[in-house]
């Protein structure tokens, strides 16, 4: 068991390539917008500063040179200065990062626990009223836009019942609604997937063999079915976690949660492009990182998968 060096390198290469593509797209967007200086400096910037930035970006040089300069700046960790807050843009983004992580991980925890619980109980009672109603609910929830769901939760739990605050950051009560909202989509897909995966496994030969050998149902479920069914579920964990991170952009806006996503969206409306750019690069980098780590972990989970 284990990972061959070649696979490791090819996976790593693919992750690097994706990062390269993202940075290139961000560069292309910046260039296509017309005058990058207009985006990167406040409108009332003094001419000397405009000139300085022009030289720094290499705007008087060829596109290729500008591209190289862009990479050099990123390599030096220079993502520009926030037009609004007058501090390095990446610092601002990193300050907001813990809030996003807190939200995403809590949501992930909720989604995993409830998704697997619903999925496996549904599979266990296949065809029952619980199975059918749970799966129908999951389908409906998968169609619910997270921002609308969030607003409905606010309406019910904050406005009508007055149990939980409508927004804000700090207390545990303020975490509940955003985390639940963010978790719903993932929970629904994990529930459906774990149910399907369990049902698939239960048809396998080794389950029949286990039955023939006279194992009790509990042993079969826990030792044979759940363990084998867990692989396809674990493989979507990374994708789901990454999706949660992207979904957080919207949920943070609904609940005024001070995370990276809300920072980026606010920065668009205040025309603070360096902050947008830094947030985009950070979120993309983490997203790619999660996918990469998950890619690596598959062969460890299932020795059958070793090569591409």
């Amino acid at each position: 068991m284990g990972l061959s060096g070649r696979t490791l390198i090819s996976r790593f290469g693919r992750a690097l390539l994706t990062i390269w593509l993202v940075v290139t797209v961000v560069f292309i967007i910046l260039r296509l917008s017309g005058d990058p200086v207009r985006l990167l400096l406040p409108p009332n910037a003094e001419p000397a500063r405009v000139e300085a930035l022009r030289t720094e970006l290499g705007l008087d040089q060829s596109i290729a040179m500008q591209y190289v300069r862009f990479w050099q700046q990123i390599g030096r960790g220079n993502f520009g200065e926030s037009l609004r807050f007058h501090q390095p843009a990446m610092d601002l983004v990193l300050q907001r990062f813990p809030a996003t992580i807190k939200l995403a991980l809590t949501a992930f925890l909720i989604a995993t626990v409830f998704g697997l619980l619903i999925g496996s109980t549904a599979a266990f009672t296949r065809g029952s009223a619980w199975d059918r109603s749970a799966m129908a609910t999951m389908s409906v929830l998968q169609s619910a836009p997270s921002f609308f769901l969030g607003i409905m939760l606010i309406l019910i739990f904050s406005v009508r019942l007055r149990w939980l605050p409508t927004s804000g950051y700090g207390t545990f009560e303020q975490l509940i609604l955003p985390a639940v909202t963010l978790s719903v989509l993932t929970m629904a897909s994990l529930a459906r997937m774990s149910r399907a995966s369990l049902l698939e496994v239960l048809r396998a030969d080794y389950i029949r063999t286990a039955r023939a050998k006279g194992f009790g149902e509990r042993v079969i479920w826990v030792r044979h079915a759940l363990r084998n069914a867990s692989l396809p579920i674990v493989t979507v964990f990374g994708i789901e976690l990454a999706e949660l991170l992207a979904g957080a952009v919207i949920v943070e806006t609904v609940f005024a949660w001070p995370g990276v996503g809300r920072l980026a969206v606010d920065a668009v409306s205040t025309r603070d492009y360096p902050v947008v750019q830094s947030a985009v690069l950070l979120i993309a980098l983490i997203f790619i990182g999660i996918n990469f780590i998950l890619d690596l972990s598959y062969p460890l989970l299932d020795p059958r998968i070793r090569h591409d």
């Binding site: 698939e200 952009v249 985009v280 979120i283 998968i305």
Partner: protein, 308 residues
């Protein structure tokens, strides 16, 4: 199952996705009657299209006309409501019913055009990758993987930050957001078709690659393409609504469900209908679009089960 034919990346998400489905017999001997649910969904969608087209005739008020004399009027079924504003008005006196009707326009326009756009890009890419294999295939699948492992919404945020918001940009972004699904599925289909006898026969009588692609492969992909377009619509409607919710979509003051929901967020305590009514319209539309997509997929090509 189809996607398992995708050998190059060994991505488990395809494996996982395929496991969601049970094997379905491809031959269908008898024609079933239309299920009631499908009729209901189709009615909603047709009604929506008509509402969008005839919005000027149906809407009781100008969607862009504020009426400061009638602010926060509740819907007709609440106390204080009247038939003058069946769904009430918002905080500056916009008529919610009229705006919800008009809001169907950007939703359908953007989803429709963007679906065609991603169809065009994705099908071309999928055909090239599957038919010519080799370097073109490798590059295209690399792009597919790269975009799948990047949160597209943040790229879209960067684009809106750089270019400013407009319908055109929104359509282009939505179009780019979904081409990968087409490319992967079409590629897998072409891979399974390219070694069939009729293709070999065309080669033998000297048909050009272009002719084979256009005259022999593409017609065989029609039903899959129809299914893929329908399945995509759900995501595209959600994309438009999410971007508009974040304030990055349809430019104001034009009505869009997403921005209407966002607008009502601050008035949940006093006037819940401002966001709940467009929200219900959006959610029902997304749900019906995905149910019709699922139904069409099962009807036209059961082997595609599990595709999103």
């Amino acid at each position: 199952m189809i996607e398992l034919a995708t050998p190059n990346t060994g991505r488990l998400r395809t494996l996982a996705a395929s496991q969601e489905s049970a094997p379905v017999s491809k031959t269908r001997t008898r024609r079933r009657r239309l299920p009631l649910l499908t009729i209901v969904c189709a009615t909603w969608i047709i009604g929506l299209v008509l509402a969008a087209i005839f919005a000027p005739e149906l809407a009781p008020h100008d969607p862009l006309k504020q009426n400061l004399m009638a602010r926060n009027v509740p819907p007709v079924w609440s106390s204080g409501g009247s038939w003058d504003h069946p769904f009430g008005t918002d905080q500056i006196g916009y008529d919610i019913f009229s705006r919800t009707l008009y809001g169907a326009r950007p939703a359908l326009q953007i989803a429709g055009i963007a679906a065609l756009l991603s169809l065009a890009i994705g099908t071309t890419m999928g055909l090239i990758a599957g038919y010519f294999r080799g370097a073109a295939d490798a590059v295209i699948m690399l792009l597919v993987d790269a975009q799948l492992s990047t949160p597209f919404i943040v790229i879209a945020i960067a684009a809106v930050a750089a270019f400013g918001r407009s319908m055109t940009l929104l359509i282009i972004l939505a179009g780019i957001s979904g081409w990968m699904g087409f490319a992967r599925t079409i590629r897998a289909q072409v891979l399974s078709l390219r070694d069939r006898e009729f293709i070999h026969a065309s080669h033998a009588i000297g048909a050009t690659d272009f002719r084979i692609l256009l005259k022999h492969l593409l017609p065989n992909l029609t039903s899959i393409i129809i299914v893929l377009v329908t399945v995509q619509l759900r995501g595209l409607i959600l994309f438009e609504a999410s971007m508009s919710f974040l304030g990055l979509g349809v430019p104001p003051p034009n009505p869009s469900w997403g921005s209407m929901i966002s607008n009502g967020r601050d008035y949940m305590l006093s006037a819940w209908w401002i966001s709940v009514i467009p929200g219900v319209a959006l959610m029902v539309t997304v749900l019906t679009a995905s149910l019709i997509g699922d139904w069409l997929r099962d009807e036209l090509d059961p082997t595609l089960r599990g595709i999103r």
